[in-house]
Symmetry: D2
Subunit: 342 residues, 4 copies
Amino acid sequence: MVVVMQVGANESQIESVIAALNDHGFDVHRSSGSERTVLGAVGVHPEFDPRHIELLDGVSDVHRVSEPYKFASRAWKSEPTEAKVGDVIIGGNELVVMAGPCSVESEEQIHSSAAAVAKAGATILRGGSFKPRSSPYAFQGLGENGLIMMREAADAHGLKVVTEMMEPAQADVIGQYADMIQIGARNMQNYPLLRVAGQTGLPVLLKRGLSATIKEWLMSAEYILAENNPNVVLCERGIRTFEPYTRNTLDLSAVPVIKSRSHLPIIVDPSHGTGLRNKVMPMARAGVAAGADGLMIEVHPDPDVALSDGPQSLFFDQFDELMSQVRDIAKAVGRTMPSRTD
Amino acid sequence: MVVVMQVGANESQIESVIAALNDHGFDVHRSSGSERTVLGAVGVHPEFDPRHIELLDGVSDVHRVSEPYKFASRAWKSEPTEAKVGDVIIGGNELVVMAGPCSVESEEQIHSSAAAVAKAGATILRGGSFKPRSSPYAFQGLGENGLIMMREAADAHGLKVVTEMMEPAQADVIGQYADMIQIGARNMQNYPLLRVAGQTGLPVLLKRGLSATIKEWLMSAEYILAENNPNVVLCERGIRTFEPYTRNTLDLSAVPVIKSRSHLPIIVDPSHGTGLRNKVMPMARAGVAAGADGLMIEVHPDPDVALSDGPQSLFFDQFDELMSQVRDIAKAVGRTMPSRTD
Amino acid sequence: MVVVMQVGANESQIESVIAALNDHGFDVHRSSGSERTVLGAVGVHPEFDPRHIELLDGVSDVHRVSEPYKFASRAWKSEPTEAKVGDVIIGGNELVVMAGPCSVESEEQIHSSAAAVAKAGATILRGGSFKPRSSPYAFQGLGENGLIMMREAADAHGLKVVTEMMEPAQADVIGQYADMIQIGARNMQNYPLLRVAGQTGLPVLLKRGLSATIKEWLMSAEYILAENNPNVVLCERGIRTFEPYTRNTLDLSAVPVIKSRSHLPIIVDPSHGTGLRNKVMPMARAGVAAGADGLMIEVHPDPDVALSDGPQSLFFDQFDELMSQVRDIAKAVGRTMPSRTD
Amino acid sequence: MVVVMQVGANESQIESVIAALNDHGFDVHRSSGSERTVLGAVGVHPEFDPRHIELLDGVSDVHRVSEPYKFASRAWKSEPTEAKVGDVIIGGNELVVMAGPCSVESEEQIHSSAAAVAKAGATILRGGSFKPRSSPYAFQGLGENGLIMMREAADAHGLKVVTEMMEPAQADVIGQYADMIQIGARNMQNYPLLRVAGQTGLPVLLKRGLSATIKEWLMSAEYILAENNPNVVLCERGIRTFEPYTRNTLDLSAVPVIKSRSHLPIIVDPSHGTGLRNKVMPMARAGVAAGADGLMIEVHPDPDVALSDGPQSLFFDQFDELMSQVRDIAKAVGRTMPSRTD
């Protein structure tokens, strides 16, 4: 921690700050320049709240030196993590595409979706059975029945299953059917949920909160990693800004930032990131060009009658076209993609 | 819902949109101006996703006409709600102050806090026993023991108790000790938690999420109200913006906006809203001047050793001074405050 | 400047960073903790771009130690500045209210406005004659004719005049008629304009840009102060956030922040800050309660026909009522207000 | 314009609103649903301020129907504009890269930069001679001398010149040496400057303001287009958000949005958009993958000693590598690039 004293801070103020730092267990290095004094506080106190010092007389600013996350940092693990979802590896050279409907709605819907996305080269089936809806009156998902349908559809087409967990009580039932647990953007700082997700031992897809800084996102990953669960995959899905022409602002610069700060894999979700079908393709291409390890894409056999998020879901033939475009981009950046299965 | 066609949209596009609206069950009124056509879609479909229409050929923009919340709106209930926390009424002419430490840390700490805040005129004791911390390694609260201590301290000084619930499984134990349940900012869209809070029948203090629009905040209130629990109190506690000199940006204009859009009471939390003790007093005064129904303030017998949020906690004598300032402001805006009890 | 090395940075990386800092003219103090090394770089280089060091191998983060502004800082001048607009003093114990129409539209309009605001206790007449409009097709102001009308109206009622300058070429004509130059939010970083404003020697009202941090705002003040013009008054008028229910988010916490970082006076403009008449009163009260040195308020004899910003302009009787409310709040925070003049 | 009445608005309120709309010259279509009444106001009043109606009793919300911009819209011109900078065409199938140093610093610097970028396939030389700096004490550019150097360097290597204009008084001197005028982000709403830029007849590169919505950006383009200057090119360069790990958040979704709302070409500036050299390459690739018509890239012969923005400038060999990567991405999205010239 670095404490910058005000220009003109007097000796007694400086000594009080040093004493306070010592009281909190820090060793202090003092540098007095011609204009002001700077104190370096050394010692490992990841939980110390720097505002304690910021409030003392004569202090101008306090800067944290260490990142508050540990297991999520590159400093802890310099090799990129390859998260394993069964035999699907996320974070290797091969890009991974997770695709499927926003919500599981019926056997027919999820089976046809699974067939379509598997054929085009996706390896993980996405679909929600417990849905976080901003309105209490909206469709809330099919619950366990939806999970059963999704498992069968995935198995029939050689896919893995990722689905969202909304509360700790759902861990058991989801663990029975899914290969990967998704934590949604609204729950990124739902700490009891993060702990339980970590404890399941299943790989976890952690979406970035709407207004979460990258540091906070990595802190939430830390909650899962701290349960000895190393298989965490981050998912950028758009942040909230002042721009109304898009639903969210997909922050693709998060991809290179995560790559330099953390060893965790990161994928991009342009469906939620833009909110409109005709923006999904360019932003999916851009995500791969920026270096993402994969994509999460919403598709639906008939988006116009989807019970949720139809307008951002692709038609099957659009998904097919998207996969072909993404394959070209992947090649241009030196990555591979699973081949089509038809 | 209003559908604005593009300038130059042709007749066949317009008819397709009308047909789609009819398919979705809307009655359509068509207005063709010299420049473009506007379609009014009438019918009650609060859950309809307007993006279905936004994507059709020839459509420029779609505007929702009705608010997605119902019970939270002024249209539903024009009289201001007076929420009852025991015999304390929030939303009447008398301002209500909730005060206490960020976390319950010990019997002595919570008892001295209760004594100090009661003396100065607060009527509800705040304190966390289950703490949402961004780091998994930080102090997580005393759990049920903390609740017991808080209940005793409150009873000893004639105060009510408000405390945060972090997951549905805590509802029973919190219900045993608290008079009001707090939903924290990070959980504003934790829908299972909102439902359970509503079902307890206890009054609920709903903090605004860091990046929640006022509309989303009212939608979350709707989750509680939809459980037949009318005692919802909103709490503005700062939103996330680009400004780094304050921890959050306290959005006081939310106070008059809520007053015009909703019948629910609203209080202001300048402690989290600013994050630094020396900003709490001016912003508490400003909150009352803007028309808030009360305040939530963090105090601590010895903020320098507080286990959480010490730097934004007031010393007892500062709280005393604040209450005296707020009393003057309250008077200036025609509101009353409970008297001091010493 | 403080340079935080990565955990695991090796000796050769550390030495390269030290060498680079020396090359840039810094003295370096090295602190090697058990976990990582921190380098304090001492020396006055206000213009050094810390990203030069941020990019070196082994560097984790770089923190600036000194504020980039000098004359605007409390460190430079600890006494609060009292800006003089003729005999009106801004930043003393007496609050100053600037009021008038958004645009000068006619002699009658500006005279009746001047009469009304003077009567209620305002001491400075506001009004635009060169208008920055987001549309090239909107009313652009009356130019010099408007300035003449405003001057006459102000003189007839004992008021000073503040008006906006949009480009350097307007300095002469505005200097002929106005007592104070306003720099609008959109021009906060129009540096040639700031320089010219400073060179006029007239007091300058500097509005905060829509997305300006407080640091950037003070840097823009520095441009004016650096021209030996000490009479700078800051004006908070709302920042851009994600919230659509208000036009801008009035950031009242800027008031205490400015008071601690700078010696410059600060006033609040709730008219632009909220954009709607019925939000102006509560936010004006809140601004004074937060410690502002004054207010800027838009009024109009007939807001429904105003050529610009009518919806956020108060009727004369509303302004009268507002002044009476503000007078009560001022008293509660120990400030005075000029008396009514009728 | 669409006026949504409150649920429960009474007949007299509805009639008053209709009367007010008629007074303002609108024709009104009334739709009364079971729950509420919606009024469609037809008539071309692009400058009408909808807040006039929003404030009337019984009104819930008012939505604008028409975009406030005209010449910038797809509705006005459905064919994509190909802007001409001499014989360089921006907005055709071939991507255009503008590259060069942040500031012109010396003959040697600008000549070597011109040589390097021309060789790699750039066709326009960028460089600032009048610099907008947030500090009054920072390097402000070489003025006309810099323009002369840049012109010579460009001519020597077959490049066009783009450079920033900061105030109307610079139009003549810039017009003498440059092929394209850049309006910087901080001046996006400097309307006198936009008008003058339009009047020069030179093509204009209009950067998006830090907190400008896409609608406001197009309104600023309208100022230039309204001067009968059709050669406007938009440049996305990052918006301001809450994320501190990047300097700005590059909003690549602006690319497909602009493509659907406007006919104007759009390029991407990942140098300012990210602020750090190692983020420039992935985001440049992403910009092209998203569909941009070109890139603006900062390069410098020796970034470590650059007088401005060195840390976001590429070394020559990095630029070379970037061009090769971008060429691959361009091919993947069906676009061409000028060949290398060595």
